[in-house]
């Protein structure tokens, strides 16, 4: 599959602290800024892969429950215990109504993502695909640095960039 009109983005999350929604607001802004049209079509899909989304907030919610009791724990960040929360947050920010998928793990998910981009494009479900690799380092969760990087692929573009999915894999390999 030849990929057309690629827009790459990357954001350092190694020192990310503060409100989780503010962090992802910034990620959404970074993605919007890299895309020449800025406004995404409704047929935009998000394919996000992550080894650890939800982990920090899962542990945090249960810590809170242990401290205050399950009936008094603060549920504010409960949605962020789900690995799917970052991708659905980005969909909301970017008004992306296409398939919204979160894969747990790393770049081993790329063949699956490629297969789905091809399928969803053939089914006319997507005009734009956003592939995101998210690794958190919220409050020092990961010893490795945290980052959010990815590529916006404009499926229906009228010219081709000479890139293949293998080359895209190389991009994700370079952290």
């Amino acid at each position: 599959m030849k990929l057309q009109n690629l827009y790459f983005f990357q954001q350092d999350l190694s020192d990310a602290e503060g409100d989780i929604t503010e962090i992802f607001d910034e990620v959404a802004e970074t993605i919007s800024a890299c895309y020449s049209k800025n406004t995404f079509p409704a047929k935009t899909a998000i394919y996000l892969f992550t080894p650890d989304a939800g982990v920090y907030h899962s542990v945090g919610l249960w810590e809170n429950a242990l401290e205050h009791g399950p009936d008094f724990a603060n549920p504010r960040d409960f949605p962020w215990t789900l690995a799917s929360c970052p991708a659905s947050f980005l969909a909301r920010s970017l008004k992306a109504h296409g398939p919204n998928t979160t894969f747990i793990g790393g770049i081993e998910n790329l063949p699956q993502i490629e297969e789905w981009i091809q399928l969803h494009a053939a089914q006319d479900l997507i005009e734009v695909a956003i592939v995101v690799h998210l690794q958190n380092n919220f409050y020092g969760l990961n010893p490795a640095t945290g980052f959010c990087k990815g590529v916006v692929i404009s499926i229906g573009a009228d010219y081709e960039v000479n890139a293949s999915f293998e080359e895209l894999t190389q991009f994700f390999l370079k952290s």
Binding site: A65, P79, T81, S88
Partner: protein
């Protein structure tokens, strides 16, 4: 792209209403409800102590809860498929919370090993146990994850990327989810009542279900009987709210529409809708509207299985897919346990009791998740 008809050749389950497919099916038809009081939840201070859990004695203790549930379900599925698997079999898993107890222990100060806690642990356990090296994908798409895994596995078989796939979903009981749903006031204080005028919320469950998928041709070559066809998976996203569905139900309907269109069938060919039916005020109302908009006045029967089984998160749509296959095999629509009265403005037809049909061709398995993630998977008679 090579196109294959993908079929189910084996199924296995671990659920609060039975640890074999037949046991689960009979208990569903007998309108049993798995919800019961749990002393440990009361002692620990949860607002509600009612949940749908597996009793510990039914789960082998030689591994972690989630891994054991997954392995037992896969063993059953492989046995029914009567297949000797090669190393290149693909493994597709959906889960919401992963091995939740590992996060709970980390909160008490125990070191956290991500490889033993997040959803990948289940795919790795299946690969190791059955000596597999094929492709894997783990879907963290919350309460729709089972549908995602089955849909992706079917596509991998269709495209020829894998010949045989093990696909399903699971979530062991999660205290983190229990506290989250409870404190978000999404849980019912007594029983889950899908699409009922007096519904008060969801009920947490747990479980695992796995299916063996392969091409129709492959099953016939092995001289086995395929159980059902896996149609296409329809997906969409509300992009509306972190937890609430859009009340217009439009994108839920789009997921249904996308599944019908991609499979190439009309809504009138669907005999039964296995609804998400979480029992919450907002989700059931939006889903009823979506079904009405797509299926119109055809009176296609709708059931919600979470009244019987609770909401087993990433396992839910996988368990429901197994029940969809059983429904097709027996031409019987399963009942909506705890449903008594439909709100007057819902415009759908609920199967409150088991309903035997002359013939069933297609059923639609729906599952939605926080963040407006919508899925609908078509399953058909062979």
């Amino acid at each position: 792209m090579r196109k294959e008809v993908v079929v189910v050749s084996g199924m296995g389950v671990m659920t609060p209403l039975g640890n074999t497919v037949e046991q689960l099916w009979q208990n569903i038809l007998q309108q049993k409800c798995a919800a019961k009081h749990w002393d440990d939840l009361e002692t620990e201070g949860f607002r509600t102590s009612i949940a749908c859990r597996l009793t510990d004695s039914t789960i082998p203790q030689d591994g972690t809860r989630g891994q054991m549930m997954a392995l037992r379900a896969v063993e059953q599925a492989l046995k029914q498929a009567n297949i000797e698997i090669n190393r290149d079999v693909g493994v597709f898993v959906g889960t919401t919370m992963g091995e939740s107890f590992a996060f709970e222990e980390a909160a008490s100060g125990k070191p956290l090993d991500l490889s033993k806690a997040t959803g990948t642990v289940f795919a790795t356990a299946i690969q190791k146990h059955f000596n597999l090296e094929g492709p894997t994908a783990v879907f963290g798409t919350a309460c729709a994850a089972g549908n995602y895994a089955i849909g992706a596995a079917a596509q991998a078989v269709r495209s020829g990327r894998v010949k045989v796939a093990i696909a399903g979903g699971l979530d062991p009981f999660s205290r983190i989810a229990m506290v989250g749903f409870s404190r978000s006031r999404a849980m019912t204080p007594d029983f889950c009542r899908p699409f009922d005028v007096n519904r008060k919320g969801m009920q947490l469950g747990e479980g695992a279900a796995f299916l063996i998928l392969e091409s129709y041709e492959n099953v016939l070559k092995r001289k086995e009987a395929p159980l059902a066809i896996i149609g296409e998976l329809g997906l969409s996203c509300d992009a509306y709210h972190q937890t609430k569905p859009n009340e217009d139900g439009y994108e839920m309907g789009q997921a249904m529409h996308n599944a019908l269109k991609a499979t190439g069938i009309k809504s009138g060919q669907v005999n039964w809708i296995c609804a998400h039916g979480s029992g919450t005020i907002a989700s059931d109302a939006a889903e009823a509207l979506a079904i009405h908009n797509i299926f119109g006045e055809r009176n296609t029967l709708v059931s919600g299985l979470k009244g019987a089984l609770g909401h087993s998160l990433g396992a839910a749509t996988a368990i429901e897919a197994v029940i969809c296959v059983q429904s097709l095999l027996h031409n019987t629509v399963p009942p909506t346990v705890n449903h008594i009265e439909l709100p007057s403005d819902f415009g759908i037809k609920i199967a409150a009791e088991p309903f035997k049909m002359e013939n069933m061709d297609w059923v639609l398995n729906c599952g939605y998740a926080f963040g407006g993630i919508n899925s609908a998977l078509l399953i058909g008679k062979v």
